[in-house]
Symmetry: C2
Subunit: 389 residues, 2 copies
């Protein structure tokens, strides 16, 4: 059932259609443009028409074609083109476009059914709870729909989001959008682990596409997971967290403290218990004062051994968005994870992390959202079609 | 006197030291992180110490070395490293770091001499005048110091700015910072012309490094240009303008109108009078209603023929910074230009453009700054040393 994992060589184009949406187990591209949208119509037909148009445009753009039939420099000069043109001549750059549905698409904030979908709302698709350390900006959180565009060229990712927003004019408005410039996770064993803005390798223990059993167990929603939401089978839950890092304070911490917070060395990324980056941490190995991997280190707090075996497929990106109010950089990690069930695979781990992770002192979560990413669209289908039929 | 133009092959590393600062005629890299700083000390000695430390760090980082002597994973575990680590293992990616001094470094807003530099303030280094269409956000404008970091990998550019900010802690605070993801200009004939977010090629008529006479005439400040500011000879003025594009409105304009606003075709970038991208526009060629290149087209309004022969070396980047208040993308062009004299090479052209350029209807300038970029630092010198000696 799982699609074959494309190799780095085949990265020019990833198929948009398939059993699962692309952009989840796809080897993580270098750049991100993520957008959340509010639906501004009450019409179910208009919402469906949008998903049809988005599907067609995403199918085209991920093949390196213009967003619509009339290319950016084609057609009558008296009409606006169907493509905005800034990607002319650029390679497709591994573009993937991944769609998701937020809880507010199903019910409004008074609980009213918006589009006749309320009885199909997945049980786990609710606004995420407030976690300790959350300082959420509502204007960087939530959303009725989301689109994750990833590519190795940021102009290609921006072009995709911009054209989808253009197509949605009158039906949706951009609620928030986030650019990410450096991926922080590997989703394939063919990739080396990049570094986050703490300077540490990030994503070493990520679920990898090649671990097909783990992907099936931890990422894809199963046929029988949720009787109310059979349409989501083969899909996944998409969690986004905009995590500001107080990098100026972090940078003044001694190297040894930084490594103790993470539980890994800064150099190779090996666990403090020894070995290399891919060695399993030994949480029992004694150090001078307690275990050599501290109990409140990040690697231990989020490790599956302490979280009922739960793992996530992370697909985050670094960001810098100008300046914060204190004259520092507004910078951090735009965390993205795909999980089979947020109630078992995200919320408990996040609670544990918020309570006991030493790294939390240097983090401030300013944005948060949860979406249900439907399965892939087959030929002739639009994305999420099973939800509406 | 002009440095040799490095070819694309030699792009791993550009020398930081030389007659001119790198990052001006250097072939434009793909990514930008630009930061403006406020000096928060009153001490001239501390300001000089900062410029010495910045020079040393920039010299190191542009050679692919860590920002300081103690690398990110070296030294005592009880001390913070001299480098933050997120660029470990990344190629130097053509990194250049270019420094500039704002008018407010010389005199505060009451005209008082801040660091004993007032009598050396270049005559043309003043806050730019208010132009029609300016809707400036002071928090995205001005600054005592600036640093332009350009590289082909955004993580490398961000790493440079972040480490310079770290070194400056207590002496400077980041006033604003801007990421750019797609260059919009070529500064070498070896580069092809990229596209801005209007979908048009941008920078076709830019001053190119290979035009050594034009660079000497239009970019570098001459020995005798300003008796008060001999220290700036071999340097340049650096103009930044954060230009928001109302892309949602632009995208609804017919192709023919878009081309008339620009005065070039969207496809090849040829002037509407014919030929190819590099053909000279024929402003006299008649069209069906006036000249085929409209009088209010961008290419005509800013053309040297209508601006006393003045040309700029532009080095701008596209940006998307989240969302605007109307549910559109906060997107546009972060314009950067290097000119010999803003009074002849920028202000009159900007005034002409603000008054008569058809494209202005789709632009809103939200940030603006002017800096004097000193000449390059020779071995053993710090950047801008001649200003202080």
């Amino acid at each position: 059932m799982a699609d074959a994992v494309p190799t780095a060589r085949a990265r020019d184009a990833f198929a948009f259609r398939g059993a699962h949406q692309a952009g989840i187990v796809t080897p993580a591209q270098d750049r991100l443009h993520f957008a959340a949208f509010d639906v501004i119509t009450g019409s179910r037909a208009q919402l469906i028409a949008l998903l049809e148009a988005w599907t067609a445009a995403a199918d085209r753009m991920t093949r390196g074609l213009p967003a619509g039939e009339v290319g950016p420099t084609e057609g009558a000069s008296s009409l606006p083109p169907d493509d905005t043109g800034e990607a002319i001549g650029l390679p497709v750059s591994g573009l993937t476009i991944t769609f998701g549905f937020g809880p507010s698409l199903f019910r409004d904030d008074r609980g009213r059914d918006r589009f006749g979908l309320a009885d199909r709302q997945p049980t786990a698709l609710r606004t995420l709870p407030h976690f300790p350390g959350d300082l959420l900006d509502p204007e960087r959180s939530y959303g009725d729909l989301c689109v994750q565009a990833c590519a190795d060229d940021p102009q290609v990712a921006v072009h995709a989001i911009r054209n989808l927003a253009r197509i949605g004019f009158g039906t949706v408005a951009v609620r928030w959008s986030q650019l990410g410039f450096g991926r922080t996770s590997t989703t394939s064993t063919s990739q080396s682990t990049p570094r986050n803005l703490f300077g540490f390798k990030d994503g070493t223990a990520n679920v990898k596409a090649e671990e097909t059993d783990a992907v099936a167990e931890h990422v894809w929603v199963g046929e029988d997971d949720d009787p109310q939401a059979g349409w989501l089978a083969g899909g996944s839950y998409l969690v986004t967290r905009r995590i500001n890092m107080t990098i100026e304070v972090w940078d003044r911490q001694p190297l040894g403290d930084q490594e103790a917070f993470i539980g890994r060395t800064k150099d190779s990324g090996a666990p403090l218990s020894g070995g290399d980056e891919l060695s399993e941490p030994d949480f029992t190995m004694p150090g001078s004062d307690g275990p050599v991997i501290p109990r409140d280190s990040h690697v231990r707090v989020v490790h599956p051994d302490f979280n009922h075996g739960a793992r996530m497929l992370r697909r985050g990106y670094n960001f810098v968005d100008g300046t914060d109010a204190l004259g520092g950089l507004n910078a951090g990690l735009f965390f993205i994870a795909f999980v089979r069930d947020p109630d078992t695979h995200f919320i408990p781990i996040q609670n544990r992390m918020a309570r006991s992770d030493a790294m939390m002192e240097y983090l401030k979560v300013t944005g948060s959202a949860l979406f249900a990413a439907p399965p892939g669209a087959a030929a002739g289908e639009y994305v999420g079609q099973a939800l509406f039929s």
